[in-house]
């Protein structure tokens, strides 16, 4: 197309671009039918409807505290939940909800020893099984690792940890919040629930030009090229912009224990008085890292492989980013089948 032709399309593309941005909140995410199994405080345990359960062991999905778990079920045709259901798994999801100021007393112990522990219990009751697979992503993976370390024998047969921070000492986050000048107590005392928007901004500042310029430039370019980016762009943009607050106690513990003192990998985290020793993890373990992950770099996850006592340990290092690895357009054909294969080998009676 000639330069004049391209210029002539700019006003219309600008109008369309504005429409795509302004209608992001109207995008539908998390559409797979599901039922509420159990609730406690803000936490909800969902079970997805399925007519073809082939594998006995249910899968319990656990996401981070700083974004909503709908990333597991982004949109029809690109949903990990939908994929697992089609593969014959019985899928449950724990949703931490949207914490308010009244949840400021929720620390990591409450998430691991109460909410997650009870969600596991309810999953077993609802499925009628004695074991399950825990699949955690990001902070959700760290919570799952802590849970497996605290309850090495029992309900969890398989643990799948996706882009999970275990030893974040070398990460950019650690450089930002790990030093003494970052006063985590001041933040946690000021906010009963640390605003998610602030944490989201910090995440985006890790790659400022990519997040604040390139994304929008590529969107505009695709509109200018005559494509309709709504289906692919809007659900992800909606999910990215939905940042629940971080309960202040959990925030204080997360920053202090993980980034300031790096306690988890050293076995110095204590929940309810009990030491979280990753060396006690005995479950079948699948660890997935993303080569271009700047939030939980692979170097901060792989130390787990040397710590655990599991006899069945698999590590997949794949190209991709922290979220794109699992939610990108290629995941459906690349990583998800690998996960399903690993799970199906370990999900029978």
């Amino acid at each position: 197309m000639s330069a004049i032709g391209t210029l002539a399309r700019v006003p219309r593309a600008t109008f369309e671009f504005a429409n795509v941005i302004l209608t992001i909140p109207d995008a539908s995410i998390g559409q797979t039918p599901r039922e509420v199994v159990w609730t406690h405080r803000g936490t909800t345990l969902y079970r997805y409807r399925s007519s073809r359960r082939e594998h006995a062991i249910p899968v319990l999905l656990v996401f981070a505290l700083i974004n909503r778990p709908e990333i597991f079920d982004l949109r029809p045709g690109n949903s990990f939940v939908e994929f697992l259901l089609a593969e014959g798994f019985d899928v449950f999801l724990v949703d931490w909800g949207v914490p308010g100021e009244e949840d400021s007393d929720m620390g990591l112990a409450e998430f691991v020893c109460d909410e997650l522990h009870w969600a596991v219990r309810e999953t077993l009751l609802a499925s009628g099984e004695e074991e399950l697979t825990l699949l955690g992503w990001c902070i959700g993976g760290t919570l799952c690792a802590m849970y497996c370390a605290m309850y090495p024998v029992g309900a969890v047969r398989n643990a799948v940890l996706l882009t999970t921070p275990i030893d974040p000492s070398g990460s950019l986050y650690a450089r930002w919040v790990g030093h003494d000048e970052f006063d985590v107590d001041l933040i946690a005392d000021s906010y009963a629930a640390v605003p998610g928007a602030g944490i989201d901004m910090a995440n985006k500042l890790m790659k400022p030009v990519t997040n604040y310029v390139t994304t929008y430039r590529l969107l505009f370019q695709s509109i200018l090229d005559g494509k309709d980016p709504r289906t692919g762009y809007q659900p992800m943009a909606k999910w990215v912009a939905d940042n629940p607050p971080f309960p202040s106690r959990a925030y204080r513990e997360w920053i202090t224990w993980m980034y300031k003192e790096n306690r988890l990998v050293a076995g110095r985290v204590r929940l309810r008085g009990e030491r979280v020793d990753l060396g006690r993890i005995e479950q079948n373990l699948l660890v997935v890292t993303a080569g271009a992950d700047h939030i939980a770099p692979p170097a901060g996850t792989v130390p787990l492989l040397d710590l655990v006592a599991s006899e069945d340990v698999t590590h997949l290092d794949r190209p991709g980013g922290h979220i794109g690895l699992m939610a990108g357009s290629k995941a459906k054909h690349e990583l998800w089948p690998e996960l399903a294969d690993w799970l199906s080998d370990r999900s029978g009676h």
Binding site: H179, F182, K207
Partner: protein, 129 residues
């Protein structure tokens, strides 16, 4: 042939822009990875937190003097509700454990022990989403 190899000005400009953007991105990523940026970020976060706390305290003070429930009052009430829910959840689990123990110990009509076999969720809220 020579004409075909001549770069189209528009494509050339586009390429130059992409190069500039890529280099700027790299430069900014280096910038944010410096300790001084971390310090700046820490100070900014502290300032925002302090201003938020002061304004929140003032707003709460105004509401209280108007004899209206402020945010802190609502939060306190919600916290009490949560603590009650915690206790109820633990109580419910204990009752279920005792129920299971009783069911395991009680002989059935044909003389064998009754083992709980129902696997349906007991507290389904019923709502679908």
């Amino acid at each position: 042939m020579a004409k075909a190899s001549t770069p189209i000005p528009e494509a050339h400009v586009h390429e130059l822009y992409e190069q500039a953007e890529s280099r700027t991105a790299q430069a900014f990523e280096e910038l944010v990875s410096k300790p001084s940026f971390g310090t700046l970020l820490a100070r900014s976060a502290e300032n925002v937190a302090a201003v938020t706390r002061i304004s929140s305290d003032i707003a709460d003070l105004v509401l209280r003097n108007l004899r209206l429930a402020g945010r802190a009052d609502v939060t306190r009430l919600a916290g009490q509700l949560h603590r009650t829910e915690d206790k109820l959840e633990r109580l419910l689990q204990k009752v279920e454990e005792l129920h299971d123990e009783l069911a395991r110990g009680r002989p059935s009509a044909n003389g064998s022990s009754v083992v709980r076999t129902d696997t349906e969720p007991r507290r389904t809220k019923g709502a679908s989403s």
